[in-house]
Symmetry: C2
Subunit: 207 residues, 2 copies
């Protein structure tokens, strides 16, 4: 498999999950600095002009929750989702949906305001709100969503690298992760996993 | 099961899927006009203060992609997802992730700007951009995502009531659905399904 990514983007979650899976894969860096994600070559891979994109033998997958779910289905022995328990699996999907539809979106208003407005004054106003909206998301995660020590409780799952990935954005968003003890403990626990640490190092190499 | 919904919200997708499933369920309307979704009673059901929320015998599920996936797993005979094909199932999840993280979010900038900014001038700027951003989403769906006649091709799936639900917002967003022939044909085909038509009628009753 091939993973297209940009350092620090939400593609980090898939990068970690691939490394955890133990499979052979190639990680291909896309340079956002030169807008490579909007190049004709990359738009052939992903017409959305975004990362991640996962090239599989069956075709190309996009959207982090779907890539993570595909990886856990493809490597069930890695046990990164409760595949035999429909309710628990739906809870995991719910968590990842919240990250992509609410937490990632709150964060994106810091640097991607042009997706949703035209004026610099609006972008500035959006940036001002990010610490508040991102804090509210992590407060909800801390209070009601994360079981601890991992997102789903005692078992590491596909939700964990994704939460870690969006939690990395908090510092730049002006939010102190130490306000959220369960999130912080999960964050540190991810970095202590050898496979995750390898993926993180490769992901940010030379950045 | 019990579904908490507000008329015209993304909960319509779950409402249709429940009716398609053939199961007994109760649909409970939440009055956004009086901010019932922020009431202490409802925050006990869903701390996010949003709909949909699905009460099951195992607990409460939120987030449309997760609820839809739970329903298709619970009623496999209804055949609303390719449960035996990991890649096809991931593609379905990818489609629903795009709807929740990008299409719904683009639309929400018309009426929910206070989630991401403070100033009325920003909300007005956001509202101006909605026709452009929502159009771009549906152009991508038309050109690259919807197979036709249904989202995944010949088989009706959990992606269809969700696409129908967000496509209903286009008119209010200032986008003509007729610009997107596959989306329009899918929209009409949904309304021709007896179960979907029953759900839509009940959903909007008295509105």
């Amino acid at each position: 498999m091939k993973l297209y990514y940009s350092p620090g983007s939400c593609a980090l979650a898939s990068h970690i999950a691939l490394e955890e899976s133990g499979t052979d894969y190639e990680a291909i860096r896309i340079d956002f600095g030169s807008a490579q994600q909007k190049s004709p070559e990359f738009l052939e891979v992903n017409p959305k002009g975004r990362v991640p994109a996962l090239v599989t033998e069956r075709g190309i997958l996009t959207e982090t929750p779907a890539i993570l779910f595909y990886l856990v289905q493809s490597f069930p022995a890695v046990n990164m989702a409760p595949l035999d328990d429909p309710f628990a699996l739906a809870e995991a999907q719910s968590f990842n949906s919240y990250l992509c539809a609410t937490v990632h979106v709150a964060h994106a208003h810091r640097g991607r305001g042009e997706r949703w407005a035209y004026e610099e004054s609006s972008f500035e106003d959006m940036r001002k709100k990010v610490p508040e909206s991102v804090s509210a998301c992590f407060q909800l995660i801390e209070d009601t969503l994360i079981e601890g020590p991992w997102v789903l409780g005692d078992t590491y799952s596909m939700c964990d690298p994704y939460l870690y990935t969006v939690a990395r954005w908090m510092e730049g968003d002006g939010v102190d992760i130490n306000r959220f003890p369960k999130v912080k403990a999960q964050f540190d626990a991810i970095e202590a996993r050898p496979a995750a640490a390898r993926a993180i190092e490769a992901h940010f190499e030379g950045v």
